[in-house]
């Protein structure tokens, strides 16, 4: 019997799955595609939560997620990558196999630390919160373990997806003003990061952030 809470959890699990898939990605355009699909599942999750809690604001939030994260940001990132013609592979500090294993450990850790009574009021779907936490940690992990600046942006966006998932799962949706503010923030952040990547590319001839340590001193 598939009740609605299980369905939300399933959608959350898909978000987590694409975050893990993100760490296994070898190519930048594939990473952007994965991010786009992950955001699609996020928007579905929020939409279903809106059905469940009968909260009109969540529909709007879901629509904004779809518009910005599934369509606008991937479009923009694709444009940037095409413009600076990144054809190199993703250069990791930690290789793909180990990365996937570590994301597994992160997920276990996230479930482990949230096993107690975390918040007094009821959850819509109890197991979405540890999933969201795992997505946050994996996003940060991507930022740490990859050298290319564009992948770090994708890591940051993954992290942001995790935060939104966690926020909606705990609080039944943020106030709409905050929501719109966060979306706007992320959108502007992504655009600025894209511009920055372009600048980095032109002045360093590479997107490898490990080469930026020359800037010290």
């Amino acid at each position: 019997m598939l009740n609605i809470a299980s369905f939300i959890e399933l959608m959350g699990a898909f978000v987590l799955f694409f975050a893990i898939l993100q760490t296994a990605s070898h190519r930048v355009d594939f990473s952007i595609k994965v991010y786009s699909i992950q955001s699609l599942f996020l928007s579905i999750t929020i939409f279903v939560m809106g059905i469940h809690s009968n909260n009109g604001e969540l529909y709007l939030s879901s629509f904004l997620t779809f518009a910005i994260k599934v369509v606008a940001i991937p479009y923009f990132l694709n444009k940037v990558t095409r413009r600076i013609s990144i054809r190199e592979k993703i250069v990791p500090y930690i290789n793909m196999t180990n990365s996937v294993l570590i994301t597994g450990a992160i997920t276990i850790f996230a479930f482990f630390i949230t096993k107690g009574d975390f918040a007094s009021h009821e959850f819509i779907a109890r197991r979405v919160f540890p999933t969201a936490l795992a997505v946050i940690l994996i996003g940060v992990f991507i930022m740490i373990a990859r050298k290319k600046a564009i992948i770090q942006i994708i890591g940051f966006l993954t992290l942001d997806n995790g935060i939104i998932l966690a926020a909606t799962s705990i609080t039944k949706g943020l106030p709409l003003v905050v929501d719109i503010g966060v979306f706007f923030d992320v959108f502007i952040g992504a655009i600025m990061a894209g511009v920055l990547i372009y600048r980095i590319r032109t002045s360093f001839d590479s997107l490898d952030t490990s080469k930026m340590s020359n800037l010290k001193e």
Partner: protein, 745 residues
């Protein structure tokens, strides 16, 4: 204790009067000469007043003025029934309270007296050395002396610390007085760093005492000592912190590094004050802590002090022997004397812990007498070195020589100081060191095996140090005053001005006076000793004809300085008569003997030519204007020969070779020109005598800093990912913390 010293209104009035008088030199500092004359008069008055009140107590002051009570109320001063003057502030625990007991009066007297001497000396010295900002010197100098006075009279931990810091900082600025010189900056930096490390330990010490008593006043701390409220561990903490904190200022063995540098760089009248009395304020606080704030401790503390004193002594004297700079030599000699004082202090503590109060009083008397004597003769020597430096413009003994003919009066006065410092009779250094020897020998009557075993070792260390000190001072006097001039500066030296001679002469006279009639000096000291140990031993040791006896109960030695002088005079007369009768008394006037070198007659040149050209060896190529001189080469050859006299570096070479491991000496012989490798090569001999421990500290500090910077480079790699990882690491740790400690139960 202190009944005779109960303060009355008259004393408070006098104190206020002196405060006003002491501010006058600051106000008129725009005229340095006038200000220094004023300050010397005021310090003389103050020292007489302090000596008088030390000898006869405050009760003798008959001028009880009717309005003194109102005056003291006006200034917020409060004299309780005890011997304190207290100035209350609104800040909690901060009370400016002052204590006038015999110990602080004794030290205050020494400070005021030495202040009088050095301001008299500075009157001429400032203009001889051509210092630029003389007014600044006057302000710093007077502030330094006054802050030292406040340090010894403070009776509250916090106010003590305030004045202690003022003293340290003012002396720092005085060390930095010639701030254009790179060495001055280095010395001053080292000094301020080390003295602040010392102050850090003093802070810890005072905080510990505050934790124990809940008060910063010395009176409460004294009650703590009397009530015996300290455990052995507590006393050990106090002992170690006192040793580290005040030992830094005193320059005890491993913490002495700042001392030779700072004394070298300060103006001479300031070095005289620093060496003469400032480093002894640390000994003063050690006496306060070990005899007033701590009671009934074991003999181990005293033995530790004795051991450190012996190490300080031997290290100081070994380094004094090899120095070429006359002020550096004197500074290391100060370190040696601090060692002697610490040995006396350690002995007094051992006797005190064993309940042998007679011996304790004797050792304490020897200690205080040596403090007084060292202040006199080391003050004299530093002032004398200043006189030399101001006349010859060098402190390097390898460039001095022949000064005895250029400045006969100054060299005679300096000779007295040298003889005192080399502990020879009939001068004061001998008497006090003899007393310390006696108390050391009497330590064999202590019923503890270790002390019995170590006593002869310490005695032999002291004997060795005495011999080495004599060597160092023979070098100091012989190389700089005898022989022929080694440089133009030494050749053109003149007698220093009148007031410099007078101020040094007063000290020299006192060295002689206290060496012959030592009981004059022991009289005020007896008052101090009586206050500390409740025993008056003056009658026991000073019998008629000016002789000093060790205590009759432990009769080991008896000495009569007057008798020694008489014996010396008789001996000299006998030798003179012997030579007169049997010897060849033909007097031949000839050029100064310079170790078998040829004299100027060989070169057929006149005195005026020599004084014009002498001693430019080394830079002998600057004779463009002397083309008319036919025998230029002769003069140059002669000047080179003068430099080939037995030098200071050569004199100390045996010592350097024997104790090679104790020094950090760098010697190099460099060929200047390779073309003339075989025919009269020009060679340059470079000699540098550094301090072994300074080298050690430097290498330690550089290694430590290297480690730190490597660690920093490792942590701050400049890679973006690392910084994110730090954030995440913190987040994860916080998450674990929250989930385990807040939601586990």
């Amino acid at each position: 204790m202190g009944q005779t010293n109960t303060l009355n209104g008259a004393v408070i009035l006098i104190a206020i009067l002196f405060l006003f008088l002491l501010s006058i030199p600051f106000i008129i500092s725009f005229n340095p000469k006038l200000s220094l004359i004023f300050s010397s008069v005021i310090y003389l008055l103050l020292s007489v007043f302090l000596l008088f009140s030390l000898l006869y107590g405050f009760a003798k002051f008959p001028l009880l003025l009717p309005f003194s009570a109102q005056l003291s109320k006006l200034f917020g001063l409060r004299s309780s029934t005890s011997d304190h003057i207290t100035y209350l502030t609104t800040i909690p625990y901060l009370k400016f309270s002052y204590l006038f007991d015999n110990l602080s009066l004794f030290f205050g007297f020494l400070i005021a007296f030495l202040g009088f001497i050095s301001s008299l000396y500075s009157f001429n010295y400032l203009y001889e050395e051509h210092y630029k900002n003389k007014s600044l010197f006057v302000i710093l100098f007077n502030g330094f002396i006054i802050s030292m006075l406040f340090v010894v009279f403070s009776a509250n931990g916090l106010s003590f610390l305030i004045f202690w810091e003022i003293m340290s900082i003012l002396s720092f600025f005085l060390v930095l007085f010639e701030y254009e010189k790179e060495e001055s900056k280095k010395a001053a930096n080292l000094y301020i760093i080390m003295t602040h490390i010392g102050t850090f330990f003093i802070f810890l010490l005072f905080l510990y005492m505050f934790m124990k008593t809940g008060s910063f006043s010395f009176e409460a701390w004294k009650h703590l000592g009397i009530s015996g409220g300290l455990s052995v561990a507590g006393m050990t903490i106090i002992f170690i912190l006192t040793l580290l904190g005040f030992g830094m200022k005193a320059g005890i063995f491993p913490l002495h590094v700042w001392l030779p540098k700072a004394h070298l760089e300060a103006p001479s009248s300031v070095s005289a004050l620093m060496s003469g009395i400032m480093i002894k304020t640390a000994i003063y606080m050690m006496i306060r802590f070990y005899f007033e704030f701590m009671k009934s401790y074991g003999w181990g503390f005293g033995f530790t002090i004795l051991l450190i004193g012996a190490l300080t002594l031997i290290y100081g004297v070994l380094n004094a022997g090899i120095q070429d700079n006359i002020k550096r030599l004197l500074a290391y000699s100060s370190m040696e004397n601090i060692g002697i004082m610490l040995m006396a202090l350690g002995l007094a503590m051992i006797f005190y812990s064993q309940g042998m109060y007679l011996l304790c009083a004797f050792a304490m008397m020897a200690l205080l007498f040596h403090i007084m004597n060292h202040a006199l003769f080391k003050g004299l020597l530093f002032l004398g070195s200043g006189a030399i430096a101001s006349q010859t413009h060098t402190k390097d003994m390898n460039k001095l020589g022949g000064l005895v003919k250029k400045m006969p009066a100054a060299s005679f006065i300096f000779l007295i100081g040298v003889l005192s410092a080399a502990t020879l009779p009939p001068f004061n250094g001998f008497v006090s060191e003899w007393m310390i020897y006696q108390s050391l020998l009497m330590a064999s009557s202590v019923n503890i095996e270790i002390i019995k075993v170590f006593t002869p070792i310490f005695a032999s260390v002291m004997a060795l140090a005495g011999g080495l000190a004599a060597l160092a001072f023979v070098k100091a006097y012989g190389i700089s005053f005898l022989g022929r001039a080694r440089s133009q500066g030494a050749n053109s030296a003149k007698e220093p001005p009148f007031l410099m001679l007078v101020s040094m002469g007063i000290l020299a006279f006192l060295c002689f006076l206290l060496g012959i009639f030592s009981f004059i000096g022991l009289m005020p000291i007896n008052k101090v000793v009586k206050e500390i140990t409740n025993i008056s031993i003056y009658k026991n040791i000073a019998i008629s004809y000016g002789s000093i006896v060790t205590l009759p109960k432990y009769s080991l030695g008896i000495i009569s300085p007057v008798g020694l002088l008489a014996a010396g005079i008789i001996f000299m007369a006998a030798v003179y008569l012997f030579i007169k009768i049997f010897g060849n008394m033909k007097i031949r006037i000839f050029e100064t003997f310079a170790c078998g070198l040829e004299n100027k007659d060989v070169y057929n040149i006149s005195d005026s030519q020599i004084s014009k050209n002498v001693c430019n060896a080394g830079n002998s190529n600057n004779h463009e204007g002397n083309n008319d001189n036919t025998n230029n080469d002769n003069i140059n050859a002669y000047t080179k020969i003068n430099n080939a006299q037995y030098s200071s570096t050569g004199f100390s070479q045996p010592l350097r070779r024997i104790f090679e491991k104790m020094y950090n000496v760098k010697e190099n012989l460099i060929n200047e020109e390779y073309k003339r490798k075989y025919f009269f090569p020009v060679k340059n001999y470079i000699f540098k005598a550094g301090d072994l421990f300074e080298c050690f500290y430097n290498s330690f500090a550089s290694k430590f800093l290297e480690k730190i910077s490597k660690l920093r480079a490792y942590i701050q790699g400049g890679v973006v990912q690392t910084y994110i990882a730090y954030i995440v690491g913190t987040l994860i740790i916080l998450l674990i913390w929250v989930s385990w400690f807040y939601h586990a139960g």
